[in-house]
Symmetry: C2
């Protein structure tokens, strides 16, 4: 099957706020090959990722992503890996390339799965998909009281695990952060799983992060996520050595498998969090899952957008029974919710299972695409390199 | 001084080839503040870096670079660092941001230097600029004979050091590579400094790279550059341990100071090569120079474009007398050569010195900009987010 077309659809809420909520816009990708279609999604900055696909070549090691994709033959996962290697080399100096490619890569897996009538996790070599315990991913409230209410609300919805992140955490005093953590623990209940996301607030300040360890241990947090800049491996390693109880989590910014490996090896994290919309798609994410497993580190998806991205992010560790937690965006914006016609909902036991459906098992709702479509045009030297495609 | 405007000028040769020659296009940046002007240059993929400046916000941690720059106050280097930190946090999920910001950052140093009537290296804390030994940076010929002629030619021009890279190296047999290396050595002469750039050709295959070590040692190569993928620290470290004579070089792809530090600490490189057009500009490059010096590693610029970028890349290690080599693009394309009215030329002794001129000391030729300007327009929701600015 020859890749005939790669179409990008930039969707957005009418108003985007400075909230750390990644579900406010989306870049959907539709790949067409041999009469079949697959869908994927790139994480963040849609306009920039589109530019990475269509930009003029700067030189041989800085070619647009499109040059390595269009016209390629794709029959099996090995072809996806071959195209990925081509991009890695020929777009070496194009920083955005990994994000652009991520959505295309997902769409190629979706397409192959539909052709083979198999879910993607089976193409990855897993026999079955084990249930995951979804954690409700939400922001800390502006006050401890607000955090308490948010955590109570997700518990009432049946979630057994909650992650609170960003907001005021790390910005005020150690005592304020303790109040927030105590409120979160009270809200999710004594048996709930509590995860904390610091949103890189401590930069590389190990002492500032370490000052929050007693409260994090007191509330039995399962992990502390991204205390530092994503590349501050030394700070991660130093903090990991400061607590026997609390494990660190990180990796969402990894734009290749190497970065995730380095956080494991040098940063001594206990949970590696991979966003398939950034790391180059499902293939490199699966390699990270294999590596994590071998190193005794737990793999977790990073997903704060649509259920298409959620399904893609669950595939790489679907078959790992012991890697139990999964991120579940509990309050996505309408654009992220509506862009798929079906959704992955927790069952009566509060567990999430990937359906035994072909490809990614998610049907894109073209009506929703039309409602949220952002008309975009890029012209260079009088030629239109990109224009929002028409929808049938 | 308030930053009033940031203007991007996308320049290109009429035809861009797949040659690994980064001088075929350029993204010039002009920053205006308080009635003053400074110039900088972003490395590679101009359209994508422009998009990184103007794109709509995706969420609070994925804002366009422009949102953190326009309207900011800039009076001193501390302000440049403050804006850099703002971008690092608020554009955390915008992968291209570091490349976009690099050219702006350079321009801000240029502007501050012009206002203070001081060269940038003095604003960085250096008392004087020491002479550097420029190496002629060029591609391997398609045949050993061609490489011999190219190396003879640069020697005849007065260069005492040459770097041969890319082309067929690593793609054919070990014997072919030896022929190439012997030819390069013959061309530059027995006393010349010979550097070799493998252009990441070995991926992470340590054995493939190690099989070239005997020939590299035989020709007394001073370094082997980028044998592997830029993130393959383990492969770098393993190869470094295989030779007592040959040092490794790398770092050009670093898009933050952390990455350069990791190549030093984990990859055991002996030379760290920084491109100010990618790492976030002159400030983080200077921090890498400080770090390298403390670790006994030699700092070298990476420059394959214009003399504006060359001047910017020399500032961070201008005051380090012992860090002697500097990359010098010996055969840039006309667009890269002509975009500045003045140039940095080796003196009669074949040495290169930064002028004692304000800022970066390079005058941009607006006539050349007009000749090579690539008309570009980006429209989103009917609004023009970017259009090639008019030149007076």
């Amino acid at each position: 099957m020859k890749i005939e077309a790669v179409d990008f659809f930039y969707l957005s809420m009418p108003v985007v706020t400075t909230e750390a909520d990644g579900s406010q816009d989306a870049l959907l990708v539709r790949v067409s090959a041999g009469g079949h279609v697959g869908w994927g999604e790139c994480e963040a900055a849609p306009l920039v990722s589109i530019a990475g696909f269509v930009c003029p070549m700067s030189h041989g090691a800085c070619r647009p992503v499109g040059a390595s994709v269009l016209g390629q033959n794709v029959e099996s996962p090995a072809d996806i890996a071959r195209i990925a290697a081509l991009i890695e080399y020929d777009s070496m100096d194009l920083l955005q390339a990994a994000h652009t490619w991520s959505g295309i890569e997902m769409a190629l897996w979706d397409l192959l799965g539909r052709v083979a009538d198999e879910p993607v996790y089976r193409l990855l070599g897993y026999v079955r998909a084990f249930p995951k315990t979804p954690y409700a991913s939400q922001l800390f409230g502006n006050t401890a009281q607000e955090t308490l209410e948010r955590c109570r609300a997700v518990r009432a919805k049946g979630f057994r695990a909650v992650k609170c992140g960003w907001g005021p955490f790390g910005r005020l005093t150690v005592a304020d952060d303790r109040d927030q953590l105590m409120a979160a623990r009270e809200g999710i209940g004594p048996d709930g799983i509590l995860l904390v996301d610091a949103g890189q607030i401590f930069g590389e300040d190990v002492e500032a992060a370490a000052s929050r360890l007693p409260a994090l241990e007191e509330v039995h947090a399962t992990w502390l996520e991204e205390p530092f800049h994503g590349f501050a491996y030394e700070a991660y390693g130093a903090l990991a050595a400061r607590s026997a109880k609390l494990l660190l989590a990180g990796g969402e910014a990894a734009h290749n498998a190497y970065m995730a490996r380095h956080l494991i090896d040098y940063g001594k994290i206990g949970f590696v969090q991979i966003d398939c919309g950034r790391i180059g798609g499902i293939g490199p994410a699966k390699r990270v899952a294999d590596y994590a497993r071998a190193k005794g580190v737990t793999y977790v998806n990073h997903t704060f957008t649509s259920h298409l991205a959620l399904s893609a992010s669950l595939q790489p560790f679907a078959g790992l029974a012991g890697h139990r937690l999964c991120e579940y965006p509990v309050a996505p914006k309408p654009v992220a919710r509506e862009l798929s016609a079906n959704h992955l909902e927790p069952d009566a036991n509060g567990e999430l299972r990937l359906a035994d459906a072909p490809g990614l098992g998610i049907e894109v709702d073209t009506g929703a695409i039309k409602r949220y479509l952002v008309e975009t045009e890029i012209r260079v030297r009088g030629e239109t390199l990109y224009r929002t495609p028409a929808l049938a």
